[in-house]
Amino acid sequence: MPKAAAHKSRKLRKPDESPGDHIAADGAVALAAVADMEAACELAEALRGALERQMPVVIDATAVEDMSTPCAQALVSAATSFAAANVTLVFRQPSDAFIAAFNRIGLYAAMMQWSFVE
């Protein structure tokens, strides 16, 4: 079975950068077309920051074409944590690829419990 290239750990935190910086003031995060491991790391950082500040977040999943398992996993962790803290986390217009990926990975049931907006 062909393997993708092995990743090296990407824990490069720039000094003095607060993790919540990546989320725009209106709390919107857009997922890229290729939501890979790197995106998963950034996403987790950004969402962690938002959660710490109790900021509501809208995740725009329109552009997703390639959803990786690390990214899906990150979203599940985030959604669960946001829900537990009673902070709003919603998804906007998830693409077909987004949904298909969750189905394939076996996290469809979890995903179906999330909030989606137009």
Binding site: M1, P2, K3, A4, A5, A6, H7, K8, S9, R10, K11, M37, A40, C41, L43, A44, L47, R48, L51, S68, T69, P70, Q73, A74, V76, S77, A78, T80, S81, F82, A84, A101, N103, R104, I105, G106, L107, A109, A110
Partner: protein, 696 residues
């Protein structure tokens, strides 16, 4: 390239190796070495070929491989013994497998029923061993899945019953960091049938302590397919450790006639509960030797597309040329005024040379891949000619550039055919001459003097010089009154149209083989010659450059032309004294050097170069080794320098030229021809050589 293409490519590359291993094992069986290891090697090879074929839907290949595999399984379980007839049959089966693989690779089909005769023979032999004793699959052994009554059991066809597998995947936390993406595995499973995946996220930490690079998920995957468990296992092969994987078949395997179709309702997807169904199929079954999923190889090597490598080699070649052009341009600058620049250029030259060496080293391969085909060839030839011959091989780890390895097979084939066909006598004749009934052919390879030299030695009857000579005269290739040395007589066999076999056997043809061989070898910058002792045997010597791509050369000037002489052939260069140059009665010239007389070849005359220096003492003489032509002195004007050059073909757009091995592009952008000194010696004829050698 999408995954399926990638899978296909990898599969066929694997098959190359597997077919080689299979043949080696079958040859060993044929030679009477029917031990457990050999049988297991053969079984393993077929099994792997079958597995990939299954995933890629090469149904015919799968069916035949299955039949073959069943036979081998029977053998290694001791249910059947190997006799010569069976061994021969299996060799033929091996050939058939190879043909089916090639057809699949080419996207074509072998003729209908091509493999049926062999398959039928295999099956009837297998049945004769008492197949009725086969027990049902509940014992958990691999062989349970191989049902000789239904050889197509593992082929996913519409008629085969649907089997239900449950896969529990509990990967390590660094699954993603290892480069695995579970969706690819799921997709591969989807190709086998219908898949339902449920992930267990119970181990997923809250966001505050979540590490995106770790894998916290576990999976339960239900697959419904007609494929066998090997197909499932193969999906995870190399990606996932066996210990992280548990595959259970929830349906009873089809060998058990009582079970029809799938098991009942799909159990609720609760993760990590130990399944209670029958026959758990652990991926690594230690009980049956040799029946393991392929162990994940330690990654010490990678496969590289040859195209990528060739591209690299070309690039490096161009780099070397550019760098030497740069060096030449800057050589006019006084080094003392630009010391740093000069040093930098020098370093760059060194780097370019090292880079070139490095890239060339990547391309070298042991000649083993070519040598490995020879034992089978000898065996077949022996059978065809009714002779008793064994082949001894040595030096197969000798390495040469891939370009050379590819060219080796054909000349080797002819030389070995010649040895078995013409050299080795029939057992009766050998006995009458006091020789052992079994003839021996020795094949060896070694690095000698910057080249690779391959020898094929037989202990046969040697060359019948009288007959060869008579035939050559008869064909008008030789004057009746020429005087030839024994060695020259021997090498007459390389002339076209010479065949002195009593019966022109089908194999070696009408003597057209050896002259074509010689021409082809010379075209590569190689030499081939034969030495023989009457009654004792003959030896073929085949020498080839280590690479056809690059060589270290001495740049020489003759008139207004520049040539390159391979360093490996240069013995020394000197400026002769007039008194050491002697004219011969026949018209040639020789140079007296430390007690010997060396024939002179005027390059300017041989190549018709205007303005070439006329007298050797005004120019230089390079003493070179011209192989069969012995030592000759090449008269040139000057030595310009020494450098490594990239060999370019003159022949691809023009034709082969006697005395020219190729061309290169020098630092000034101009083309320089590379000399083939042996060819040069022959073309010029040398002093006192017969027309026969010159005419070849």
């Amino acid at each position: 390239m999408d995954e399926l293409d990638q899978l296909r490519q990898t599969y066929f590359q694997d098959c190359d190796e597997l077919l080689g291993e299979l043949e080696s094992a079958l040859m060993a069986l044929d030679n009477g070495r029917a031990d457990g290891d050999t049988l297991n090697d053969a079984f393993r090879a077929i099994h792997s070929i079958k597995g990939g074929a299954d995933i890629l839907h090469f149904d015919r290949l799968v069916r035949f491989a299955h039949t073959f595999e069943s036979m081998l399984d029977r053998l290694r379980l001791g249910k059947l013994a190997v006799d010569p007839e069976l061994a021969s049959l299996m060799l033929r089966a091996g050939d058939a497998i190879a043909d089916l693989v090639r057809a699949a690779q080419a996207g074509s089909e072998m003729p209908d029923g091509y493999e049926n005769e062999i398959a039928d023979a295999l099956q009837s032999l297998a049945l004769a061993a008492g197949a009725a004793a086969e027990t049902a699959a509940a014992n958990g052994e691999e062989s349970a899945a191989l049902n000789e009554r239904d050889p197509a059991a593992t082929v996913p066809t519409a008629d085969a019953p649907l089997r239900h597998y449950r896969i529990l995947l509990s990967p390590p936390a660094d699954l993603f960091l290892q480069g695995n993406e579970p969706q690819l595995l799921i997709r591969a499973l989807e190709r086998l049938g219908s898949v339902k995946t449920v992930a267990d996220a119970s181990a997923l930490p809250p966001l505050a302590s979540f590490d995106a690079e770790q894998c916290y998920l576990r999976w339960t995957v239900d697959v419904r397919t007609t494929a066998g468990p090997e197909a499932i296992r193969d999906v995870f092969d190399l990606a996932v450790d066996k210990s992280d994987l548990e595959i259970t078949e929830l349906t009873a395997p089809p060998a058990d006639a009582a079970v029809a179709g799938t098991s009942d309702a799909v159990p609720a997807p609760t993760p990590a509960t130990a399944p209670s169904g029958p026959s758990p199929i652990k991926p690594a079954s230690g009980t049956v030797p040799g029946v393991q999923a392929k162990a994940a190889p330690t990654v010490n090597s990678i496969r590289v597309d040859l195209e990528k490598l060739d591209y690299l080699v070309n690039l490096v070649g161009e780099l070397v040329i550019s760098q030497s052009m740069l060096a030449e341009q800057l050589s006019v600058l006084p080094t003392d005024k630009f010391p740093t620049l000069s040093r930098s250029i020098e370093e760059m030259s060194q780097h370019a040379r090292n880079l070139q060496d490095g890239v060339m080293a990547v391309r070298t391969q042991p000649v083993k891949s070519v040598f490995a085909r020879m034992p089978r060839l000898v065996r077949d030839l022996a059978v065809e000619t009714g002779k008793n011959v064994r082949l001894l091989v040595s030096g197969e780890t000798t390495e040469v550039d891939k370009t050379v390895v590819e060219q080796l097979f054909d000349p080797l084939l002819h030389m070995i055919r010649n040895a078995v066909d013409h050299g080795i006598e029939s057992p009766a004749e050998r006995g009458a001459n006091g020789k052992p009934a079994q003839g021996t052919v020795r094949l060896s390879a070694a690095h000698v003097g910057g080249r690779i030299v391959i020898q094929v030695t037989d202990d046969g009857r040697g060359i019948d010089r009288a007959r060869v000579r008579a035939r050559a005269v008869e064909r008008g290739l030789l004057d009746a009154d020429s005087v030839l040395t024994e060695e020259q007589l021997d090498n007459l066999i390389f002339l076209p149209g010479l065949s002195t076999a009593e019966t022109v056997s089908d194999i070696s043809g009408r003597g057209v083989g050896m002259d074509v061989v010689r021409r082809n070898v010379e075209r590569l910058g190689g030499r081939v010659l034969i030495r023989s002792v009457a009654g004792k045997g003959s030896t073929f010597y085949l020498s080839l450059p280590l690479t056809l791509a690059v060589l270290d050369g001495m740049i020489i000037g003759v008139g207004r032309e520049t040539y390159v002489v391979p360093l490996t052939v240069i013995l020394e260069s000197l400026r002769p004294q007039a008194r050491d140059v002697h004219r011969l009665v026949g018209g040639g010239e020789v140079l007296y050097v430390r007690g010997e007389y060396v024939p002179l070849v005027y390059l300017g005359r041989a190549f018709d170069v205007p303005d070439a220096t006329k007298e050797p003492w005004e120019g230089l003489v390079m003493l070179v080794d011209a192989d069969a032509g012995g030592k000759i002195g090449v008269v040139v004007d000057e030595i310009v320098g020494q450098q490594q050059v990239v060999i370019k073909s003159v022949e691809s757009n023009y034709r082969a030229l006697r005395g020219i091995a190729g061309a290169t592009i020098l630092g000034n952008g101009r083309v320089a021809l590379i000399l083939d000194v042996a060819g040069l010696a022959e073309a010029v004829g040398g002093a006192g050589q017969s027309p026969a050698s010159a005419a070849a």
